[in-house]
């Protein structure tokens, strides 16, 4: 096929060769193309980001002042639960799968993903799962209000929503497993000749390892919620001490899934950061192989630290000690990564375009989250922090100015490649500065609130917490509003952006760093119909 035919988005004029996309809306429903599916994932994630964001605004509005303001306590708790589930399973994870779909074939020199039909199915399973989840908002008894961890016995008091939530988890699990298997098979089987494992861009590496994590943990979560279902409807006693079961068992199973799950969201984040920083520092990535090994080490450790979420549940002393020391170990490979990103920038000739700004903010603010993590890994200290706003601050630092910022960075970095248009750098920078400042106003005070003893997941609080809550809410509103700029930029860029025609490389010397920059902007419908012969090795 001709390599330069532009056929992105709604442009069907060039649909003359035998394997172009189908016409109209059907194109998006039955597509097997990695770019179409990647676009679907990314747009879906963007929508979910705003849905989950709206829920967060409800939470911050209610917490703006002490006392009950806008919503019922039950609904408030539904909001914290649904906010987390929507953001984790609807926004962050799908966004990274979308990036994987778009970028992995282009980065490894493949024509498409290894299993294109399954690729389509994994996207629609995601939609089905999120639909079931969203439907619970309108049910008798309300949406689940137990927190995203769905702990029994509390969650068993959910109304009609419970089986829907359980089946939604099953569908989301099937979707993630299919997506992960597809990514693993693509990376192992579809690399261009010469693209050896240790020449792959780090984004590809981190996704390979994330794929393993997903295949290993999603069935575990599915098993846990299945037992919730049978405990509620089929008389089993898995989590009921009267029948010889144990509610703490659920927590073990959940966190065996849950801890690796948070790394599912952060490892691809690391991958994108390791891809962007070298390009704007105009240096090869510092310590490529140590990055690969650190990623693998983090993934391995993530399976053996789960009970650090359960320090206060009454574990035997040996368990407390083991999980404390094992958790501290994670800081070592994580430190290696932060060191490498910093060393990559060291004495580089840096420029500060929007993707780089977001990436630098990621390095700084993620480290913040890592440090509070380290504090909580100390079991006796965690007795104070557990279930307070301190932990809310911790994981939001690791997820918002880390995963979400890097997703933004990825958007700015690759949108010109995807669309062939340049985004508006001024508005991009404005979006960055507003986000970077407001995210700290939003989350930093939550450390103080937590240390002072404010519990998480409550709609009302004692008056001594009033000031910091108000500041945090103000930060939240600014942060939420700033994201509309991102929405604007995405739409504007798709529609033509600044009008400036971008080159294949887009960023100065980017082709030295990744194969995707050797393709035209926008790239042809099938990435590499003939495998590329020169493998860029600048990132090694």
């Amino acid at each position: 096929m001709s390599a330069v035919v532009a056929e992105h988005e709604h442009d069907h004029e060039h649909d003359h060769h035998d394997h172009g996309p189908a016409k109209g809306i059907l194109r998006w429903i039955i597509t097997t193309n990695h770019k179409d599916i990647g676009t679907l994932y990314l747009l879906f994630a963007l929508v979910m980001f705003f849905v989950g964001g709206a829920m967060a605004m409800v939470i911050r509005a209610e917490l703006f002042e002490p006392g009950m303001q806008f919503v019922e306590p039950q609904f408030f708790n539904s909001m914290t639960t649904m906010h987390a589930l929507v953001m984790v399973f609807g926004a962050v994870m799908p966004a990274f799968v979308g990036l994987a779909n778009w970028m992995i074939p282009m980065m490894i020199g493949a024509p498409d993903m290894a299993l294109p039909r399954m690729n389509n199915m994994s996207f629609w399973m995601l939609v089905a799962g999120v639909l079931l989840l969203a439907s619970t908002l309108f049910m008798e008894g309300g949406a689940p209000a137990s927190g995203w961890t769905l702990y029994p016995p509390l969650v068993l008091q959910t109304g009609k929503a419970l089986p829907f939530a359980v089946f939604s988890v099953h569908l989301l699990g099937v979707s993630s497993i299919m997506g992960a298997i597809n990514i693993i098979a693509t990376i192992f089987n579809m690399r261009a000749p010469g693209m050896t494992l240790m020449k792959m861009p780090l984004f590809v590496w981190t996704w390979l390892i994330t794929g393993f994590l997903l295949v290993a943990i999603m069935p575990v979560f599915a098993g846990a919620v299945t037992m919730l279902l049978t405990d509620r409807f089929f008389d089993t006693s898995f989590f009921d001490a009267a029948g010889g079961g144990d509610p703490v068992l659920y927590q073990h199973i959940f966190w065996f899934f849950g801890h690796p799950e948070v790394y599912v969201m952060i490892l691809p984040t690391f991958g994108v950061a390791s891809t962007i920083i070298p390009v704007f520092a105009r240096k090869p990535l510092f310590g490529y192989s140590s990055m690969v090994y650190a990623t693998a080490a983090i993934a391995f450790l993530s399976f053996i630290v789960w009970a650090h979420h359960m320090f206060t549940v009454g574990l035997p002393m040996a368990g407390e000690l083991y999980f404390m020391y094992a958790t501290m170990l994670i800081a070592i490979p994580t430190g290696v990564k932060v060191f490498n990103w910093t060393a990559t920038m060291w004495k580089g000739s840096m420029t500060f375009e929007t993707p780089m700004l977001f990436s630098i903010a990621f390095v700084v603010l993620f480290t913040m989250g890592g440090l509070t993590g380290l504090m909580m890994s100390v079991a006796p200290l965690d007795f104070q922090y557990h279930d307070t706003y301190f932990i809310v601050a911790h994981f939001h630092y690791t997820l918002v100015p880390a995963s979400v910022f890097i997703l933004m960075a990825a958007g700015y970095y690759w949108l010109p490649k995807w669309t062939g248009h340049m985004y508006d750098e001024k508005i991009g920078k404005l979006h960055f500065w507003l986000s970077a400042v407001s995210v700290n106003i939003l989350f930093f005070p939550q450390h103080f609130l937590g240390l002072a003893g404010m519990p998480r997941r409550i709609p009302d609080y004692a008056v001594q917490f009033a000031d910091w809550n108000m500041i945090s809410s103000i930060g939240g509103f600014i942060f939420g509003a700033s994201q509309l700029l991102f929405l604007y930029i995405v739409i504007h860029t798709i529609k033509g952006g600044t009008g400036e025609k971008v080159t294949d490389e887009v960023w100065e010397d980017a082709a030295k760093h990744g194969l995707e920059w050797t393709l035209p902007s926008p790239p042809p419908y099938h990435s590499f119909t003939t495998p590329p012969t020169i493998i860029p090795t600048e990132h090694i």
Binding site: I29, W124, P219, V220, M227, G243, G244, G245, D246
Partner: protein, 289 residues
Amino acid sequence: MATHNAYYIPHKATWPVIGTAGLMTMLAGFANYLNGSSIGPTMMVLGLTIFIVMLAGWFTLQAGESESGMYNTKVGISYRMGMMWFIFSEIMFFAVFFGTLYYTRNLSVSWLGGIGDGPGRSTHDILWPAFEAVWPTNGPGKVGGEFEPMGAWGVPFINTLILLSSGVTCTWAHHGLLAQNRQQLIKGLMATVGLGFLFVCLQAFEYHEAYSDMGLTLGSGIYGSTFFMLTGFHGFHVCVGAIILSVILFRSYKGHFKPENHFAFEAAAWYWHFVDVVWLGLFIFVYMM
């Protein structure tokens, strides 16, 4: 694109959306049924029907493509990786229930019985100081009433022999395929499928015994829960495996598969061996110990 040396990439796929719609309808129906709504069963049947039509359609499509030589070796490798990782995810799914058995049996029941310093220990001291840790148990609340645990050496032992021999017949069929001995392939598969369904029948008989004579039900506390959950999910997998093998048998009749190209057979056989190994785990940890 559809030549021998290029990686085959299908361009449009209708079955995935249809299958997803079917599965979603089925699950939403099931959820409605559990909530006591009357449209539940109808939705379940409808969804299941759509899902089965999807499976039939999708697999017919794949089989046709495979037989017409559209898949080169590389495509075959992708499929094999897909199957391998799918089985790995299934292993993790069973691991949850084996883990549950281990945890309750060796840890939490002891704490409930006042041994050790785990989280259930105070439950013992405060709520049920008289409860003693034994296995099998239906807990301090005697949930589900008196029951008799399932022994290992009756039906379960026969079932072990059945599944093990079905593994042998399956491999024998594979040898037949490789040696281009169609008769051996078909006979081996027939024996495997037959043994598979025999296993399911015997297990149904065992469940019937448990419910009607032994007082052992899904509601018999933690013993009943783990027993039926583990054996039940396994039995379900045996059914699925036997159905898959029946399809392979049907395709063998129609002359499908060549010694160098028979991914579907291999996938089915791997799945069958996986189900077999899980059973050995069950026989040891659920029945014997």
